[in-house]
Symmetry: C2
Subunit: 380 residues, 2 copies
Amino acid sequence: MKKHYLLAPGPTPIPPEVLQALARPIVHHRTPLYEGILQEVREGLKYLFQTKSEVLIFASSGTGAMEGAVTNTLCAGDKALVVEGGKFGERFTQICRAYGVKPIVIPVEWGQAVDPAVIEKTLREDPSIKAVFTQATETSTGVLHPVKEIAALVSRHPGTILVVDGISHVGAVELPMDGWKLDVVICGSQKALMLPPGLAFAALSDKAWQFVERSTLPRFYFDFKKELKNLTQNQSAYTPAISLVVGLAESLKLIRKEGLENILARHARLAKATRAAMGALGLQLYAPRAYSDAVTAVLAPRGIDGQKVVKILREKHNLTIAGGQDRAKGKIFRLAHMGYIDPSDIIAGIAAVEMTLKELGYQFELGAGIKAAMEVLSAK
Amino acid sequence: MKKHYLLAPGPTPIPPEVLQALARPIVHHRTPLYEGILQEVREGLKYLFQTKSEVLIFASSGTGAMEGAVTNTLCAGDKALVVEGGKFGERFTQICRAYGVKPIVIPVEWGQAVDPAVIEKTLREDPSIKAVFTQATETSTGVLHPVKEIAALVSRHPGTILVVDGISHVGAVELPMDGWKLDVVICGSQKALMLPPGLAFAALSDKAWQFVERSTLPRFYFDFKKELKNLTQNQSAYTPAISLVVGLAESLKLIRKEGLENILARHARLAKATRAAMGALGLQLYAPRAYSDAVTAVLAPRGIDGQKVVKILREKHNLTIAGGQDRAKGKIFRLAHMGYIDPSDIIAGIAAVEMTLKELGYQFELGAGIKAAMEVLSAK
């Protein structure tokens, strides 16, 4: 018997209600039935993003919406400030370069959060910078960037927009789009939305839509204006990923039923339990001062390969988590607690980590992590 | 009780084996399990496309691969010949314009096929034309373009590639990529592949890959070279649409079990039965001289709105077909017989069309269409 467990930062487990929706006979998208579903989905997404703006939906991976955020708001030769503190920060730099936008990189050590003062100084010194790109949660490091503070300062620059990659964040950790005055928020389906990968989202503020009007970069499939026009008629410019949208309607129902505030509190509690467990095992966080509640990145103990931890977890404990990427490969392992995850999942995950570390010769008191987690989870 | 029937040219019905695969707990894509599935899928796609080339897989609608076919093979200022005989021909023109490629449009009357001699003449007069874009089946008109003849003449021009949109065609009607020397073949998941929409495919000949090397148009998400590199390692550049790829593995198994030759023969028989039925009802085809076996476009009888036919079919007979698009709107209705469709589906569809036409006051002998279809379907 093999039961599979998944504590990776995407894809994340899918609730049975959503899985069943994915298996329904396909509906045609040019029908009142589908248009009714999309109408519901539009409302649900606005609730999730905490915005009055429409949330555009693309049949693509999250990277598609990241590309669209560049190509729909900027022009060739524009300067953009990119917070680069992990693999996904680097992706914005790469996209900018691919389209002739000049990235001004703010290098941030992996595992650390960006200092908003650096952004402020850079924007003040060069007011021609058109956009600031940052992650909310940087998935590759588990870092939480101070988006609220960044937004407060960017919003004082009428010629600059803030683009936030919330792919591993929206629906897991607080990110009120309108409340914080975020200009573009991007998300993907396979994280806190509890769906398979294959849908990307982008919501734009009025300020960002003004940038779209002046943007001249080439685009076709990821054309935000064309997509908005279609979406307001409960349609899409091209054939949508119908089954995923039908699944999304179900996941948004679950989200509204639990309530966003409760969902964020659940993520905070599960993340706190995970961090407490890792601490009790004598392990250090990769982002000790700026951790996100979406994913916990843990430094592998000295002499133990983080990739080995991942491999043993998968092969002996049927648990899939993520290792480190690029320069963090082998150094860390990442336990996510995003989406359809409850305390029992976390307990099972920590137990598997403990048994794996024991097998790898790491010295600690077996059960210490679980005990610390239970203390958090049973606290009022 | 309402049973729903679907004879639209995408999405098409999904076999239960595939629906069940879509509802399986999600697997992580960076695991040997997923890599094994993708390895199988790669072989299955080569079989379906009849090619030795790798078939790239994108999480997107088919339009994404159409865009990629332009941005990965051409440079700004390049000239491209576009066969424009329907909505999807026009899309290639729009994509070329969006990226600064100069389209030389060959206008083809809707409902007619392109004359290869016109392509030959144009290429001879201007050898600097870098690419020819055409549909195999033009979904909006039901036309079959003479791709074999076009390929034979384009292959004699070393500086020109042929890009074939096979979205409503691959797996339904003959299109041997290597045998006919096609340079780029594009497909989508929601047609003959019997899957939900959300996956796009592109296969490139060696000649086309040489064009990729010299192409300088900007691209990021739809980067063919990056995707090829990942695919050969059973991975993808960005998070793949995992559940759809898992479903694809199932649909490719069904395809290999039935056999491509048998599948094409089935489509031909169902299409012939549909055409015979429409003829027996006194109806004319929109593409009387160049019809595709993937979708049959039928002219609505004089005085009857094609959109009304579609609406009554949906509302009273629970059957979804497609109407006409753009300039064909109201003039035609389209019955597809692509993918998971059998004789009983066709019979039910024709009966519903007959009852709808009767309700709309069209004069004909009730049952005449069904009888003609049965004669085809029962023939040895």
